[in-house]
Amino acid sequence: MNRFENIYTKNYQLIFNVVQKMTCNADDASDIVQETFIALYQSFQKNVRIDYPRSWLYKVAVNKSINYLKQQSKADNIELVNNITTEENYFEINEQQKIVQYALNKLKPDEKILAVLYSEGMSYKEMAEMSGIKFTSIGKTLSRTLAKLGDELKKLNYEMY
């Protein structure tokens, strides 16, 4: 197994999970993940030096997800995105997960990215690098985002601790 395939099998699930939480659509998520790995493959072929493939993949996948979300909100498909949880893509997820998905969709693209990255346990520095939000305003945006998300979850009667 070559280096690329090794990275692919090791990181696929991780990257897929991040992207599918941001896009809320399993099909589009797998497309984005494929595109991300294609970009990595092409970089390897061009002999681009990548020291930390995992964070490189994270960065590319997050960027692609941001573009996807911006396109979605530009096309004014917010309603469509909100309804996506009822589509067959998500027939496997339970009610509680649907609520979380719905609450996440209520956030703006930037906030959504931040919330997902926060749940991945990233530091403020990493979040700033990946989301494009200023390092100094991460704390402020994050606290506001979490409050918004918490309100939505409460409204939908999500079972909190």
């Binding site: 999970n17 092409q42 749940s119 402020k140 606290s143 998300l149």
Partner: protein, 147 residues
């Protein structure tokens, strides 16, 4: 110290503030029950939000085999599109260029007679500068003096 704002509390919870700041916040928290309560709520919210989002993780995803063929066809497809587009452009420009030269006039040629001054019936045309202006449909015009 006045009460701590949300941003600072969030940084404190995530361990993202400097040692000095941390000490100042902890000192204030020991004195101010309102801020302590707020910290407790925000901590719970952070944990809940992280847990809620993490619940969307799927642990049993089947990793599809990486499709090298797709990679090739994709680049081939792009090449094909570029070639066909450029061919279409060339044909389009040739069509426009050739078309303009060979297209026969759809409108009749207009002839405008202009009299520079009143005609004198007793003199010949040549002596009186009679001119005929001919304009075709493309706006080209020619002035012919009668002799």
């Amino acid at each position: 110290m006045k009460c701590i704002d949300q941003q600072q509390l969030q940084q404190y919870i995530d361990g993202e503030c400097t040692a000095n700041k941390k000490a100042a916040i902890e000192k204030h928290l020991s004195e101010c029950t309102r801020c302590y309560k707020k910290l407790y709520e925000m901590k719970a919210l952070a944990v809940n939000a992280q847990h809620a989002i993490a619940s969307l993780n799927r642990n049993n995803i089947e990793v599809p085999t990486f499709n090298y063929a797709k990679l090739k066809t994709k680049t081939k497809k792009i090449k094909y599109i570029i070639y066909s587009l450029s061919a279409a452009c060339i044909i389009f420009f040739i069509f426009i260029f050739v078309d303009k030269k060979q297209e026969p006039c759809a409108e009749p040629v207009s002839i405008v007679q202009t009299l520079t001054w009143e005609a004198d019936a007793n003199q010949t045309f040549a002596n009186q500068d009679f001119a005929i202006q001919i304009t075709d449909c493309r706006g080209k015009s020619k002035v012919i003096y009668l002799e």
